[in-house]
């Protein structure tokens, strides 16, 4: 390797590259049908593309063709416009982050050495690698002291974070993630998924993410490619599109009958029309409040007590209204308090868990924004926007 090459290689390449599959095909010897057949797919730079499908659909093969750990038989894949075929496989792989389900940390190397593995291959100076390693440990929220430990001394979740940090070490243009959270227990998995999404918001890599779990795909993907046997893409769209309008019967089956419910995971409370509750202030005459309740178009039959900044304090009961003026301490507690930015699915969970019919929704300043009820959500699920199975959707009277 010449010196000029060495220096150019050790430069960090900022940003991310697009990945385009151009009729990529993989045929294994002795098999009549290709594992991946003529796959054409465009992944824009900086997005997470989830390849999802049942086992044996060729999603992992499709992913591995990008870094040539599986060599394609026909077609091409371009990373940032350059064909992967034109590059030396080892050099190509050093520009592409790689995370696998079994994590694959080197047991004989410390955490810091694991994270610094690709920089070492690229010939970075020790100082630079060390600086990058501590930067990454911080980024993934791991105590820098853990850098001196060995993988066996870390929990599974910590190990997987290190696996992600190791893949990010040399600032790759593309990340390949093969069921990265598949071997983690459900609670830790949820946390790792959220952490990765937060991380991705900062680093904005192009990510090819393989999973067989449609819920994970919906959560993680900017786009989802639903794949069928032979690596055929049945639908390539945003999670919302896939949930609202499955392109084929296969997609419909794969997404599952509860896809309307799944849509709630993609929505925030602010995406839905909230109800208004009659507002009451401390010291206000109860007759005024009663008058508001008597109005014909009232949506919530209970008055909500708010302070002078319109911050909710609690719900007024019939007994509260028997007094002359509105009391400072309402009879019923506030119950679940939601933020406009809460995920709708979590909001529903809060409502159900709080055994509450109504939940006050506040803005960033904590001021009342509206009221969410189980009824609003159930009506939303029945509305055409969420209705995805026309043949089974029954018109039900409600009001």
């Amino acid at each position: 390797m010449s010196e000029a090459q060495a220096t150019s290689e050790s430069q960090p390449q900022p940003g991310a590259s697009s990945v385009s599959y151009e009729g990529a095909t993989k045929r294994y010897g002795g098999s009549a049908t290709p594992a991946v057949d003529n796959l054409t797919l465009e992944v824009p730079a900086g997005e997470i593309c989830v390849l999802v499908g049942p086992s044996g659909c060729g999603k992992t093969t499709a992913m591995r063709m990008v870094n040539r750990t599986v060599e394609m038989s026909e077609g091409d894949i371009r990373v940032g416009g350059e064909s992967v075929r034109d590059k030396d496989p080892a050099k190509l792989r050093r520009e592409i982050g790689y995370v696998i389900q079994q994590i694959g940390l080197f047991p004989h190397r410390t955490i810091a050495e694991n994270i610094g593995a690709v920089p070492q291959l690229l010939g970075w100076k020790k100082e630079r690698t060390r600086a990058r390693t501590s930067e990454l440990l911080e980024l993934i929220g791991l105590d820098p002291e853990l850098g001196e430990r060995y993988p066996v001394q870390l929990s599974g979740g910590q190990q997987q974070r290190v696996g992600v940090a190791r893949a990010l070490a040399a600032d790759p243009l593309v990340m390949l993630m093969d069921e990265p959270f598949g071997a983690i227990d459900p609670i830790a998995r949820e946390r790792l998924q959220n952490e990765f999404l937060r991380l991705q918001a900062q680093v904005r890599k192009t990510v090819l993410f393989v999973t067989h779990d449609i819920d994970e795909a919906i959560k993680m993907g900017d786009r989802i490619a639903i794949m069928k046997e032979g690596g055929r893409v049945e639908q390539y769209a945003t999670p919302a599109e896939i949930l609202m309008a499955p392109a084929t019967e296969f997609v419909e089956d794969f997404v599952g009958a509860d896809r309307a419910l799944k849509r709630l995971a993609l929505m925030r409370v602010s995406d839905i029309d909230l109800w208004e509750a009659p507002l009451a202030h401390v010291g206000q005459a109860t007759t005024e409040v009663r008058a508001k309740l008597a109005e014909p178009d009232v949506e919530v039959p209970y008055p909500l007590l708010v302070d002078s900044e319109r911050r909710p304090l609690g719900w007024l009961s019939e007994r509260d209204l028997r007094a002359e003026t509105v009391p400072a301490k309402p009879d019923s507690p506030l119950g679940p308090l939601l933020d406009r930015d809460d995920i709708m699915r979590d909001a529903l969970a809060d409502l159900l868990q709080g055994e509450a019919q109504y939940a006050a929704v506040v803005d960033h300043e904590g001021r009342i924004d509206g009221v969410l009820s189980v009824e609003i959500i159930s009506e939303f699920l029945k509305s055409p926007a969420a209705k995805t199975e026309e043949h089974s959707a029954v018109e039900r009277p409600h009001g």
Partner: protein
């Protein structure tokens, strides 16, 4: 060396009665009593005669184990790359290992003659099976996920071998070396039958049947030697595999 080469030691029978008288100065009371297992007086007076044989023994062991290791390690790497070579190599080294030791030395006599080379060839051949087997097993036990991620991050096959597979196989490799070394230290006493010296010169003699003191001294030296080598290899393993001492906290 010269005095040893002059000894007619091609086989135990040839050592003869003369050995005892020739090499045992003094006439201690305990020497005369065959039921006496160990004659301290004789040992004290004759301990210096074990120096040269012990050094010869050491030399034979070191050369044979290093040679055997190099050959077996190379064969194991070859079998690691080309899987089909593994069964024949395992069988081949196994056959060598199964040859009764004395006959192996004697079989080589017509080819290489009475020489140190003959002893080294036989001793090295005995180490092949154990080292080959352990290196192969060690390389095979390297987790697939570590190799997959190494390949995926852009290591070449050679880098994977030297930076991931061999370091992770170190405990098995050193384990094989320990067994091979200890057994070679013991078998090297047979080198005397091909005129290659060693502690065998102090063990195999008809006279020693009636006077076991010399045998016992040789055995102790062999055991101490084996212990020192084993401890040294264990120490090397300790310092080359720090990750094995790390435990989940």
């Amino acid at each position: 060396m010269a005095s040893l080469a002059a000894l007619p030691l091609a086989a135990a029978g040839q050592v003869g009665e003369g050995f005892f008288h020739e090499r045992t100065p003094g006439n201690r009371p305990c020497q005369a009593n065959p039921s006496h297992l160990f004659c301290w007086d004789w040992a004290r007076e004759n301990i210096d005669r074990y120096g040269t044989p012990a050094l010869q023994q050491l030399e034979l062991v070191l050369i044979s184990v290093v040679l055997g290791f190099l050959v077996a390690f190379a064969l194991a790497l070859l079998a690691h790359r080309r899987r089909w070579l593994r069964p024949p190599l395992l069988a081949g080294t196994g056959v060598l290992y199964a040859i009764p030791s004395i006959s192996f030395f004697l079989l080589l006599l017509p080819i290489t003659g009475r020489s140190r080379e003959t002893a080294i060839i036989a001793l090295s051949a005995y180490t092949l099976q154990i080292i080959f087997r352990n290196v192969t097993v060690g390389l095979e036990n390297v987790p697939e996920s570590a190799k997959d991620s190494a390949r995926g991050m852009g290591m070449t096959e050679r880098q994977i071998l030297w930076r991931v597979e061999i370091p992770l196989a170190t405990p098995e490799i050193i384990g094989g070396l320990r067994i091979a070394t200890v057994s070679t230290i013991a078998i090297a006493t047979l080198a005397v039958f091909v005129h290659a010296g060693g502690l065998g010169t102090q063990i195999y003699g008809a006279a020693n049947l009636r006077f076991p003191t010399s045998i016992l001294i040789s055995i102790v030296i062999v055991m101490v030697m084996a212990f020192i080598f084993d401890a040294a290899l264990l120490t090397i393993q300790y310092f080359t595999t720090p990750w094995r001492r790390a435990r989940a906290s």
